[in-house]
Amino acid sequence: MRISGKGLVSHNRTVNFSFNGKDYMGLEGDTLASALLANDVHLVGRSFKYHRPRGILTAGSEEPNALVSTGKGAARDPNIRATQQELFEGLAAQSQNCWPSVERDVMAVNDLAAPFLGAGFYYKTFMWPAPLWEKLYEPIIRRAAGLGALSGAANKDPYEKAFAFCDLLVIGSGPAGLMAALTAGRAGTDVILAEDDSRMGGRLLAEVEEIDGKPAHVWVAEGLAELEAMDNVRLMPRTAVTGVYDQGTYSALERVSHHLPPSQSLKTAHRPRECFWRVAAKASVLAAGAIERPIAFRNNDRPGIMMAGAVRAYLNRWGVAPGARITVFANNDDAHRTARDLVAEGVHVTAVIDSRHDAPDSGEFPVIKGAMICDSAGRQRLESVTIRSVNGEEKLQTDCLAVSGGWNPSVHLTCHMGARPEWNRELAAFLPKPDAVPGMVVAGAANGVFSTHGALQDGAQAAVTALAGMGTSVDAPPLPVASDAPYRISPLWAVPGKGRAWLDFQNDVTVKDVAQAARENFRSVEHMKRYTTQGMATDQGKNSNVAALAVLADATGRSIAETGVTTFRPPFVPTSIAAMGAGAEDQGFKPQRYLTSHKASLQRGAANIEVGLWYRASYFAKDGESTWRQSCDREVTMVRKAVGVCDVSTLGKIDIQGPDAAQLLDLAYTNLFSTLKLGRVRYGLMLREDGFVMDDGTTARLGENHYVMTTTTAAAGQVMAHLEYLTQVVRPDLDVRFTSVTDQWAQFSVAGPKARDLIDALVDEDVNGETFPFMACGAITVSGVAGRLFRISFSGEHAYEIAVPARYGDALYRLLLERADPFGGGPYGMEALNVLRIEKGFITHAEINGTVTAFDLGMQGLVSKKKSCWGKALSERDGLMDDDRMRLVGLKPVGAMQVLSAGAHLFDPDATVERVNDLGYVTSVGFSPTLGHMIGLAMLSGGPDRMGDTIRLVDHTRGIDTLCEVVNPVFFDPEGGRVRG
């Protein structure tokens, strides 16, 4: 029921919305919850387990009951708290966890089966027989479990992530937070003020209070205006700080556009739904306030039973009386304000039921002292409550019960780095442990200071303390005048009696469940939590944790302080994965690195393959080729018979200079480089510290003290980091400098019998056997562009790699292809490159897989005896050069099945296929069009001693079981005549 003119909503601006398909009208400034209450809608959802009717309990982000879904199709958002969802024109919300409707929910039958569904039901029931778990129980439980439902479709709504920085992060904008922000802001400090609510002011918006003789919300507005005018202060409403991390890092979730109608324009189409912030702050003030806790009694979960502070908030902030005959049930003075405020607005208050015999009297409403509410009635809305006192039990007609069991300071964030809060008997509450988080000062209700005056003072002092920690000295400001009412409370957690008294509304956990957990020896609070699931729903038990552990303390005969709390972990409010992973969906998962030849390759019909972050041409499909194999075979033959062009720019290139450059190379490579002549290239092998092979590649000597090292594509970063390690840690005395030039040069392999003809005609210099013999390098120019030419080969053919600055890469690639065409040449891709190198027995990281040594690869000769090198000592350990190690061999099929497969394992033909008989594995395979059959490389135990042997190849995954012959890994042109020709 709306009270005309009351509250901070705009009474002359109506907003149309719908709930469960029915149209309603609310006011600008409403939340969905306040608008529903104004329309007398109390039943908003069904509980998780028993599907009991549930109504709005709170007025904040801690709401356990009023969860709704908004949006349609892929953009559906489940578990939106109606207490936070701001009303906008056209908002359509639906209840969850009910079918066919919230009023008639067939699963409510669970409530009748409640005696069987208590704590531990799943653990006890679905243990036996075991095979049924996977097939029957789990699918059924999974279908019944979970609050709300996702659409199952990819959500295209934009989300974002962002970083923010400040000196002081103030969390919460109630009296303490506002005062802290004002104090720090006036001192010129760089401040962020974050507030979970859409409107700043905290409880000052929900209470009838005066500050400095003004209504509290007016004082708030003035304070905010002052902060807004400061350049050094950033206000972040709708932003919940969700976690505290090391070194002053905080996470926060901003609801950017949940309060706005779906975007209609192109511009706002990119407006994110939520933003996940990471805030770096030198210090913080936690002024997160407190959360009111219910008192458990039989049937205390009916729609219409609400928190007393929430009833005041609906009345004072939104001008809504949640009932016509309201009763208050409390154990503290604070809740009496609810009755006072209601009476002042002419709402009928039946009585205040106070469990304390010394509760204060009132002239405005009846106070029944020393009494408790022990039951309630009403089907989908509260109709009456039962009062138990020394006079016995009597029923009282009421349509709304405002309950208060006291306030729990919001200490959650103080616990994120491992601290536990401390029990305070006087306040009957857990208070934050001092200095629980380095640099965080707690103030106001979060610190157990409940009066407005106290909160203002505590907030100002917290800012002074936080600033002092940063070395900024400020005086505490004069405080505005405000009330300083004491907080009087006598603990009451649960009203004794039969029936189910609810603690955790969201997970349907009762007092009985907790007691039963204790009886079954789940006495630790952490065990009780997991056994009953108390506090494990989306609200993380914000309303119920303290009461549940108090009940557990009672059941186990321990004190509350001894029992302790469960661990509070981030996030403080539910955080959508879409926000945390924003920007990483689809292609945003990782960056793309494109070659300069990318576009020209695509125009030539290239199919791309991802190689790390790079996109490389896999093969070039020509007209009439319907499979990659056809293209690959043609490209291999083209290179062997004419000439092929391949972009090899992805290989790591490291420019190395300095008087000690050769020494670094001698340290990094197994073989000698200090003897490399100017204008020559050498192949080299690098070991890890443990003696196993790290990478291979070539290094060219371009000048007296100038080298360019190439690495494999996969290990480019690793080798760069390795060189940094060698020069910063192992040999800091070396005077050598290096940097990555991978992206500086576009480099193309030109391979095949016609390579020299092509290159000689292309470059401005003469290229012949004398100027560029095998393994030579030098500067050249192409149409006046300075480049480099290397006579090296990864195909076994007469080949060159030609490099030009990357800006000319596209042009040179196109030119090379144009020049190759008349020779019957053209582009070749990764597939052909792979076949060409297997034909030659050249290794890649398929062979250098981290478990092989130079010895295993038959490259022990490359480990120089004349010098030491990185990894050499450990490569000589016992067992690393045993003949029966798995060593590199070639394989060719001899069985009926002319197939080889990479990853297959090798066995003696007579042995059974068992792990103990495993002789090795296949690393690389391909179809050689040159030889007319498949070929493979493998690591085989005692491999070189088995040449000519027949070996059994088994690949269970692909269903291959065949015989092959062990052969020399160099299948083609073992003498190397072609490459030198």
Binding site: P158, E160, K161, A162, F163, A164, F165, D190, V256, S263, K267, T268, A269, H270, R271, P272, R278, A280, G583, Q587, G588, K590, P591, Q592, R593, Y594, L595, T596, W614, D655, Q657, G658, P659, Q728, D735, R737, F738, T739, S740, V741, T742, D743, Q744, W745, V782, S783, G784, V785, V804, P805, A806, R807, Y808, G809, D810, A811, L812, L815
Partner: protein
């Protein structure tokens, strides 16, 4: 016959969204300068004589718009603009990186807000001032970021990342503009 040059962000830039503009810079040359042992001072003097700026301290850039030396990592700086004087090679390793990096300029009142979506360091003008530079990450890429004007930042990533750089910045620019 002539080889046509192509800059890293060809066909991708310029771009204006809201009041933020993203353009490509194409300096005539970029050279990595890494002083040899004990050569820091003579190199700085030579750099000053040749190009008018000293060797930058860590996280700083020296020089101005058409000739800038940007700290580029441990014991190295990138000379952006002029072709490096070959005399500098007496004191430092010189490596031509004119084609190795994409260089873009993000300019506008809300440029820092765009960067706050992508970069984990504080780039607000009161903290990241004129002459400041950083090697940091931009979303998933390692980058060099330098303040080159009150509302302007220079961003560099490896050339091959240029499409992703533009994509990521564009998305952040759209998100910032959409907030109105």
């Amino acid at each position: 016959m002539q080889l046509a040059a192509q800059f890293p962000c060809a066909g991708l830039l310029p771009l204006t969204i809201g009041d933020v503009t993203l353009t490509e810079d194409t300096p005539a040359a970029m050279t990595l300068i890494a002083p040899y042992k004990g050569q820091e001072k003579p190199l700085s003097d030579a750099l000053n004589a040749a190009h008018g700026m000293g060797f930058p301290a860590p996280n700083r850039a020296t020089g101005k718009a058409d000739a800038r030396a940007i700290w580029f990592g441990r014991a190295q700086a990138l000379l952006v603009g002029p072709v490096a004087d070959p005399e500098l090679a007496a004191h430092a390793a010189l490596t031509d990186l004119s084609d190795g990096w994409a260089v873009v300029r993000l300019e506008g009142a809300r440029a820092e807000e765009v960067m706050a979506r992508l970069v984990p360091i504080d780039l607000r003008p009161q903290v990241f001032k004129r002459g400041h530079t950083a090697r940091t990450e931009l979303k998933h890429m390692m980058a060099s970021i330098t303040r080159v004007g009150p509302k302007a930042l220079q961003i560099m990533v490896f050339r091959s990342f240029s499409a992703t750089l533009v994509h990521d910045l564009k998305r952040a620019m759209e998100a910032v503009a959409a907030r109105g």
